[in-house]
Symmetry: C2
Subunit: 179 residues, 2 copies
């Protein structure tokens, strides 16, 4: 029976159309308000980005960054510029680097689903270790979680992209201070 049905699937008497397919839908990205910048200030944001990169460099994502120290510093500074602007600091990034076009800027580096998971996990670790203003954690997380999906440009599985919704990570992120 199975043999017969298989035979029918390929090379039957007529053309057989396999439906169109969507690989993945990049979810909406809620960009934060200026509340985070107002609460943290530029220096603290830059420290956060630097800390995140220090963690990333210890993972397999680290190989995606320049080995040259000066080039690496430029990449981290640029990322800090972006975060400072996106969180409400004014044109810190765009005045120097132009339009962000984050997905486009990352095309030169292959970023797969696992790289994105690591990037996000290291942010979670960063947020736990620093004194990120608790009142704004949800707004920040709801931004970087879907944002990180946009950077994926190398698919290695048919599985849907794993989401890490706020309600799933909340407990872990705010537990330490019991708030």
């Amino acid at each position: 029976m199975q043999l017969t049905s298989r035979k029918g699937r390929f090379g039957g008497d007529e053309v057989r159309v396999v439906d169109a397919m969507i690989d993945l839908v990049y979810p909406p990205v809620p960009f934060p308000s200026n509340r985070i910048f107002n609460a943290m200030g530029e220096m603290k944001i830059r420290e956060m980005v630097a800390h995140h990169h220090a963690l990333l460099l210890k993972t397999k994502v680290g190989k995606l960054f320049p080995a040259n120290e000066e080039a690496l510093k430029m990449v981290i500074d640029k990322s800090a510029d972006f975060f400072a602007e996106a969180l409400g600091g004014g044109e810190i990034f765009t005045a120097v680097h132009g339009e962000p076009h984050l997905r486009m800027r990352h095309f030169k580096v292959p970023i797969d689903e696992q790289d994105r998971e690591i990037w996000l996990a290291m942010y979670k670790k960063t947020l736990k270790m620093m004194n990120f203003p608790k009142a704004h954690l949800e707004e920040f997380w709801n931004w970087i979680e879907p944002l990180s999906i946009r950077m994926i440009n190398r698919r290695t599985t048919m599985e849907a992209i794993r989401r890490y919704h706020w309600h799933e990570v909340k407990q872990d992120l705010i537990t330490k201070e019991g708030n």
Copy 2:
């Protein structure tokens, strides 16, 4: 004016949601009938696949194939098995290798938009050089053109995938014999 509007784009007073996005829609794939196998037979199909691979190996796509001669032969035989079955020869592939799952099987190798263009161009060259039955060229092309898009798993551009519809390539494919 522009500065003001840019300032408003990032880190304004409220959260700003950027819409969901679809990267690409994999178009429908019309799998061929058994007419091509009936016209060509298995040996001719295997020759076609071997010729296509010989051309591919001379391009930058060649680096995606095993360097080891025996391993390379296995890959080409497997591809020939698939084409022979898909074109109507019965369970030549599935009996030995199981379900095709073409996209999944290609995940281990990064295949970008340009790799797919080369793969398709080398098929066009193969079809021109061999004596592919003219009456079935359209059915064959309409299959491999969208099929090749499914193998893309590395994106390097925001541009839509370039289509090569039959009406665009027809002239070039059938000119030689003036038919």
